[in-house]
Amino acid sequence: MSKHHVTTTINGEPTEFLCETQQTLLDTLRDVLGLTGSKEGCASGDCGACTVIMDGRLMCSCLILGVEAEGKSITTVEGIADGDHLHPVQQKFLEHAALQCGFCTPGFIVAAKALLDENPNPTETEARYWLAGNLCRCTGYDKIIRAVMDAAAEMRGETVG
């Protein structure tokens, strides 16, 4: 079978690509489209470094076939900021030093954005469970959780001391 021709939308841009059946969405993002912000940490859905939003749902792009992107709308880490204007989650990750090596960061940014889209006022426990599919080995999660909670507060328009 020849390659599949896939027509999709990535970060708001109409996109076409060719892929083989066994190539995951992560493979096609990274190796075909050059969108290397999504990372491969495990290729088994256990680390969350490849997290994307597809048709409004948070997913691991390593657990989606590239061909399944047909007709979908996908947001990757490259599509979170509005041009040069960082999303509050990104800004708070910087301010709170919520990253050390930065490898898991793209997945956390996408997952945290999806959390706040769905639940603008999460408790710390809700944030921790929502983000449990994103592994970070550097930070112990402390500053990540603080950054997410602070971003939530800012997006709700609350002033934070």
């Binding site: 079978m1 066994q22 859905g45 749902r57 997913m59 076939l65 599919g133």
Partner: protein
Amino acid sequence: MPTLNYAAPSTVDEAVKLLAGSSGLAKVLSGGTDLLVQLRSGRLKPELIVDTKKIPGIIGIREEGGGFVIGAATPGAMVEAHAGMNKAWPGVVEALDLIGSTQIQGRCSLAGNLCNASPAADSVPALYAAGAIAVVVGGKGRREVPVEQIPTAPGRTSLAKDEFILEFKLPPRPPRSSDAYLRFIPRTEMDIAVVGVGISVTLDEKGVCTAARLGLGAVAPTVLLVEDAADALIGHTLDDATLAKLDGVARAVCNPIDDKRGTIVYRTKVAGVLARRVAAIAFDRAMGKLQGKTH
């Protein structure tokens, strides 16, 4: 190397034909959260992947005849967001909610969880307890099968080569009925169940159990429907003696293995512990004493 083909049929008939016509291994793709891992690891080398998600009705939840019909490929997140399901079947919902991460929830389906035929699948004990019916379609037409008749052994199901599950039916709920699911894992998320217990009960006004089903996961080659649990519960309130009996019944049916996730001894003990705990939650829910998530 054999080429891996992919098809996304838009009708049941087309899908059945593709499955029937495949010369090698053909796999049905719904959420893909198990299938893609198996593909990547090389454990499975199918010739054809049939993506069923374009078949009308295979994603979605509808109320029908007082019960619920859940499309086979409906992602967990969609079930979790369904108010009616949360009210009627909180145990099924929490079982689905425990499968993997938020990201997995966006994809994982009841059909995939059942047909992967892992004894440790989280939603399966809850489906067994619920008395769910799988609507199976295939070359010989459509048939309705109790879910506990689908898995036959680890990784094996009773489905024919050209069959797949289209949807699940959950029966109407009598008054004072509820369900619950608990599993034990070493961490708080992301692990495969060491033991999983789903229970569904109906009580009378005094809190005496009139109907009960208990599904037990990860303690035998397939998920078990524990008939003796019903005997232990029916006709009783959830007093200490009943709980002790339930604990004993759950332990008695265990036939687990020693592996990286737990030992025989440990799994057996925890099965009893969780049976007691999950029963307490379901009884409280049935009597209206407990609402919402327990984790």
